[in-house]
Amino acid sequence: MNTMFPMLVRREFWEHKSLLIAPLVWMGLIVFLFTWAVIQGPGGDHVKVIVDAQSVDQMGLNDHDREQMQNAIKLPEERKQSIFAFSFLAIYGLISVFATVVVFFYLIDCLYTERKDRSILFWKSLPISDADVVLSKLMVAVVVVPIGVILLTALTQLLLFIIVWLRLHGSVIGSVLPDWSFIAWLRSQAVALGVMVGGVLWYAPIAGYLLLLSAWAKNKVFLWTVLPPIAVPVLEKVFFGSEHVLKFLGQRFSGYIELMKLAPNAFEAGNNHDMPTVSDVYNAFHLSNVFMSTETWLGVAAAAAMIYATIRIRRYRDES
């Protein structure tokens, strides 16, 4: 790490403005659709209703609905808070999945375009090492954007809560909802951060693979990235009748979720009585498994090897 590193990272956002704009647009879309749904949805009459069993009767619901709502109102705050946990994690999921797609295209493009437009000769006329360049691009993908996602998620959560509160406070539905809990909000940030760090480590080999192809492919870099994971398992099946590569790839994609051993009952909230507590939800992620797994660190080692190869290719490749 050196003093020019921040400038190299800034440079990436100059060139790849979508890294900044796309997640913001996505967040805007989420907030807009959510707001629209809240306004269209029930409970928006803003009638101040005293929260008790009688007021539920006044809503003209059927017996089943009434019972559900009464039960919900009676739920202890500790269990109501899990609504926060769900919604916060859902927002994190929506934003991080989208950001992953943006980062995918960033990674396959970042070392390819500079060769295509020959601007690499300009960058190489400056005293910046190839390691600094490649690592700055990796940093953008695995540190800067993920931190941005966490911040954007926190902001979105706040916005959505404010919208819900403005619309529903004092109404019957509002009384089903938990009060704003700063602690729950903070905990959701901590869990999101943990899931992010684990995910970055687990999926680091994919980032390394994409950077490597971006530095290597002469053309059609997108095809090069998606073709081998499809073609190799097919060829293996055809010629050897086995599925080792497919199983390996599947494990590399789904292994992260398996390692976390998501406790499924923490996410089952179909019945009010089974409504999990907020702690149940947050504790459902067994992140320590991810950090203790040899497989995680083997993947990190593989990523490091591919990053090293990427630096070598950028350093010694002779584009004539």
Partner: protein, 294 residues
């Protein structure tokens, strides 16, 4: 004084094709050297080797450093303009200044801004919005504001019109050459940089065909247009090149005494362009040019 560029047996092959066949170079500080050769002669490969952009065999020291292993250190003191098109099109002029200022310890931002202020380039423009000539001006502004010891220009004015080419070299002379800095330049337009150069190197088929200071060219090479009836006598003195111009024959000599030739007709010092043509395409050359380095 130690040489800025020192090469011994610099060799490069692409597969089976030799591109540089063991060339030797000694470029001293403060020289302005034109590296001139036809397409495919090895100019760009030589420059790539000097800049650490390609692998090679043989010995090569640039500013006393090995471009293969000490490239990052080297690039603090070496600048290059590879081609007019290499500034990325998405880059804003102000971003270009920010970036180079952020990564180059020897960049004088104020100087670059002063240079840009003399042009029509606006700071909020992107490279894609600039004309080809303006892109070159911008690139030159960035490069000239770097206090480098060696400036390498590989076809810097390719594709520019005459006015921009002229102002490019004028700016280069005014802003750069007054210092103890060395310039290595390749170009096709020999005649345009002839007056700028202190040294000229011809490269052909991966060999150095000529490596000489400009001031020695007049001592070594003479062009003769023999008088009527003296063509055979002139030929007997073994010119290495001859061609017909408007019905008269022009002959080029290497290492003949001026007095000896003056007796046979009109003599003058050939231009670098004349020499280049003569040495690169020895159409009717009875004798091969004397080679300085094999």
């Amino acid at each position: 004084m130690t040489a800025i560029i020192e090469a011994r047996g610099l060799t490069k092959r692409y597969g089976d094709t030799p591109v540089l066949r063991g060339i030797n170079l000694d470029i001293q500080p403060g020289r302005i050297v034109g590296l001139i050769g036809p397409n495919g002669a090895g100019k760009t490969t030589a420059i790539k080797a000097i800049l650490g952009l390609t692998s090679f065999d043989g010995e090569l020291k640039v500013l006393g450093k090995d471009p293969r292993t000490e490239r990052n250190e080297l690039m603090k003191e070496v600048c290059f303009i590879a081609d007019v098109a290499v500034l990325p099109r998405w880059l804003k002029v102000s971003q270009a200044l920010d970036f180079v200022a952020g990564v180059h310890p020897r960049f004088d931002r104020k100087r670059a801004e002063e240079f840009i202020a003399r042009t029509d380039i606006r700071l909020d423009r992107r490279v894609r919005q600039l004309s080809k000539g303006m892109v070159t001006q911008l690139h030159l502004a960035l490069i000239l504001a770097i206090d480098a010891r060696l400036l390498v220009l590989d076809e810097p004015t390719l594709g520019l019109d005459l006015l921009f080419r002229r102002s490019f070299y004028d700016n280069l002379l005014n802003d750069y050459v007054d210092k103890e800095r060395t310039i290595l330049v390749t170009t096709h337009q020999v005649e345009e940089i002839e007056n700028l150069l202190t040294d000229v190197i011809f490269i052909q088929h991966g060999n150095i065909a000529l490596d000489a200071p400009m001031e020695t060219l007049g001592e070594r090479f003479v062009q003769l247009i023999p008088g009527v009836g003296k063509v055979d006598a002139a030929r007997a003195l073994k010119p290495f090149y001859e061609r017909e111009v408007f019905g008269r024959v022009a002959m080029l000599y290497d290492g003949r005494k001026l007095e000896e030739l003056a007796a046979l007709g009109e003599t003058r010092t050939p231009s670098v362009a004349d020499l280049f043509v003569a040495m690169m395409q020895p159409v009717s050359a009875p004798a091969a040019p004397q080679k300085e380095a094999a």
